[in-house]
């Protein structure tokens, strides 16, 4: 296993911790509404103060995703999304996507189905993703106990492999997952699919606090977080809040209103800034 010491995601969390900061992890669908806009959004969210970003890799059959993200995947695929195109966009962002036209500095995660990774070839996928500039992978349909050598493959390529925990996960398994996860632990606030919700079950926060006593790896909460208030609530305990459907929803609205790409990017930037407000 090459060590992940120089991994940007791990370093980012270390840095946040050192400064007593919590973080926001915005989720964007790669290639939605188009790949150029996605690349520009990365630059924009970085400029607005995000440190980490998740890129959802469009899939024809995303069973863990709700209607909003699924529709964005379908739109991206209809628009000609390819893995080669994704890696190219990320390479470009890394080269010149930073706020000043320099290298883009976000820690980048690909949220990608194992169907895609497996078909591409696990080793090759990790190598190509790392070479393009990704720092970690979230493979939501590769739970602990299936193809467990995958984390080793990812680490050899220098990538974190982030595992998820569900409210339905038994206590002992939660600890095992936290131990096996690298970069951070993704705690799903609800059992079910992605989508916006207005309140989080209080048991989620308690469960995360409990788990923090067993692991040093940062824990982030996702699924259903849709407002700055919820980000604040989550970050009272967790080290990060993941916001997906609510951002994609904003993009949908802008796309439906025929907004030009620049304006969509701006809309997302403003929303991300608003979400970051309580944890500045």
């Amino acid at each position: 296993m090459t060590d992940l010491q120089n991994n940007r995601l791990i370093q980012t969390f270390a840095d946040l911790r050192a400064n007593g900061k919590k973080t926001l992890l915005p989720f964007l669908t790669a290639g939605y509404p188009d790949s150029r806009t996605t690349t520009n959004m990365l630059s924009e969210v970085e400029r607005r103060g995000a440190r980490i970003c998740e890129l959802g890799v469009p899939f024809s059959d995303p069973i863990a995703d709700g209607p909003v993200i699924q529709a964005s995947y379908t739109a991206a695929l209809d628009g000609g999304f390819t893995l080669a195109g994704l890696f190219e966009s990320v390479r470009e962002y890394r080269a010149t996507g930073g706020p000043d036209g320099g290298p883009g500095g976000l820690a980048l995660l690909a949220m990608v189905s194992y169907s895609i990774v497996y078909r591409y070839g696990c080793e090759k996928f990790c190598a190509d993703a790392a070479a393009a500039g990704f720092d970690g992978l979230i493979v939501p349909d590769l739970p602990l106990g299936q193809a467990d050598n995958f984390a080793t493959l990812a680490a050899s390529a220098g990538l974190c492999n982030v595992l998820l925990i569900s409210p339905t996960t038994p206590q002992q398994r939660r600890i095992e997952i936290a131990k096996a996860s690298s970069g951070f632990v993704y705690f799903m606030s609800v059992a079910g699919i992605t989508g916006e919700r207005t309140v989080l079950p209080p048991s989620t926060i308690e469960a995360v606090a409990e788990l923090e006593t067993h692991t040093d790896t940062p824990i982030c909460i996702g699924f259903g977080i849709s407002s700055a208030d919820m980000v604040e609530e989550v970050c009272g305990t967790a080290e990060g809040a993941i916001v997906g459907s609510a951002i994609i929803h904003k993009i949908n609205d802008a796309v439906a209103a025929n907004a030009p790409s620049r304006q969509i990017v701006e809309t997302v930037g403003q929303f991300v800034e608003k979400l970051l407000q309580p944890i500045r």
């Binding site: 899939f59 024809s60 059959d61 995303p62 069973i63 863990a64 709700g66 699924q70 379908t74 695929l77 390819t82 893995l83 189905s113 194992y114 169907s115 895609i116 990774v117 497996y118 078909r119 591409y120 939501p140 349909d141 590769l142 739970p143 602990l144 106990g145 299936q146 193809a147 595992l163 998820l164 925990i165 569900s166 409210p167 339905t168 996960t169 038994p170 398994r173 997952i177 799903m188 609800v190 059992a191 079910g192 699919i193």
Partner: protein, 404 residues
């Protein structure tokens, strides 16, 4: 009832060789583990097995007949053709065997609601029926393209008290209905059991569904011995997800003299997008939680599929079939839309049976094989269902043919 011990290399995690597994979101892991545990306990419990047998007898109407298709045999020459009449079951197909088993299990687990995906609507009707029998709430996910093709079954489900949920995503067929059912289950596992309709999906579904369907082969095997004093030379079944095929194959899989043929949907042509034949034309991949042959593009996106038969119109297949394919135990082949329709017409006229379009694929292969064999040899066809549900579709197809 219990014929063979399970000498098939299934590991506790549900692998058949390299195939199978449970590639699902973490949210479903606990539910699948519980299900696996409950199924193992139920299957080993004599009371559960006795109750299941009673349901098969009194509700499904088992055993189904083994029928010698004399006029069909005469017409094609060569081997004798026998039909295992799953079309005679209550609700019209083999699907009822599985839904009765899973509904019993749902009851045993204390779940009050069941959900299902359906393509042809046969599994939906069978689920709705079992739900009515056991007093369970029932919702069935169905693609809008299939709702159009299988209007009669949609009405039957509603009549039986089930709610049919239209699915608009993707190609609006079986795969998309399956996605939607899995999504429902992720948020409802606490009180809901997902009655998956074939030997697909994550462990323990492929194992469980195969066990509930093995009554087909167990009966056929002993009926064959009784009537002919010997086992068939070839067993033929159509393969969508693979449940009727697994059901008739498994109890004879150790009988080395019995050759087995699985028939996939050859559709319009053998170009990607025109058929639904993952075992013949696909590659190993992951779909709906298991590692098995699948039709995908180079990026891992699930390919479009086509079949005249809604029940075979699916890009994946059960993992045990992938294992049988690689080991060579079962030969897999395709049958085109046109060949299936011709076979359907043939069976109507020669035997007075209107088979389901799915089952017609198996009939088409059997009448290809029979003439190549000797008169004292036997071809056994799993006639998985009846064609009433397909009559509208067939009417349209025949009208189009005549118009040409």
């Amino acid at each position: 009832m219990n014929d063979f011990t399970d000498n098939i290399p299934t590991t506790s995690e549900g692998y058949y060789g390299d195939y199978g597994g449970a590639f699902v979101p973490e949210t479903l892991i606990a539910a699948l583990e519980q299900l696996s545990h409950e199924f193992d306990a139920a299957w080993a419990d004599d009371d559960f097995r006795a109750e299941f047998d009673r349901c098969l007898r009194e509700i499904a109407g088992r055993p189904s007949e083994l029928y010698f298709a004399g006029r069909l045999t005469e017409q094609f020459g060569g081997a004798k053709i026998y039909l295992k009449r799953e079309d005679m079951n209550h609700t019209g197909a083999h699907k009822i065997n599985n839904t009765l088993g899973q509904a019993l299990l749902a009851k045993r687990m204390g779940k009050r609601r069941v959900i299902a995906e359906t393509g042809a609507g046969q599994h939906g009707v069978a689920t709705a029926t079992a739900a009515a029998v056991f007093g369970l709430e029932c919702e069935v996910y169905m693609g809008t393209e299939d709702i159009r093709r299988q209007a009669l079954n949609v009405f039957r489900m509603k009549l039986l008290g089930a709610k049919v949920v239209p699915v608009e995503s993707g190609q609006r067929t079986l795969k998309d209905a399956t996605n939607e059912a899995m999504r429902d289950w992720m948020g409802s596992v606490e009180h809901t059991h997902y009655i998956l309709g074939s030997v697909c999906g994550p462990h323990p579904f492929p194992l469980m569904v195969r066990q509930f369907q093995r009554c087909i082969g167990t009966e056929a095997r002993s009926q064959m011995l009784e009537v002919e004093g010997r086992l068939p030379d070839v067993v033929v079944a159509c393969v969508g997800g693979g449940s009727n095929a697994a059901g008739i194959f498994v109890p004879m899989i150790e009988d080395k003299s019995v050759a087995m043929v699985g028939v996939e949907a050859g559709g319009r042509s053998l170009d990607l997008g025109d058929h639904a034949a993952p075992l013949c034309l696909g590659d190993p991949g992951i779909l709906h939680g298991s590692h098995s042959y699948v039709l995908q593009d180079a990026d891992g996106q699930t390919a479009q599929v086509h079949s005249v038969s809604a029940g075979l119109d699916y890009p994946g297949v059960g993992p045990e079939h992938s294992y049988w394919r690689d080991t060579g135990r079962v030969r897999y082949t395709t049958c085109s839309d046109d060949e299936a329709i011709d076979a359907l017409m043939t069976l109507c006229r020669s035997e007075g049976i209107i088979p389901a379009l799915e089952s017609s694929h198996a009939v088409a292969e059997a009448i290809k094989i029979a003439p190549t064999l000797k008169a004292d040899q036997i071809v056994l066809v799993n006639l998985s269902g009846r064609g009433d549900k397909d009559c509208n579709e067939i009417q349209e197809i025949l009208a189009r043919r005549e118009g040409k």
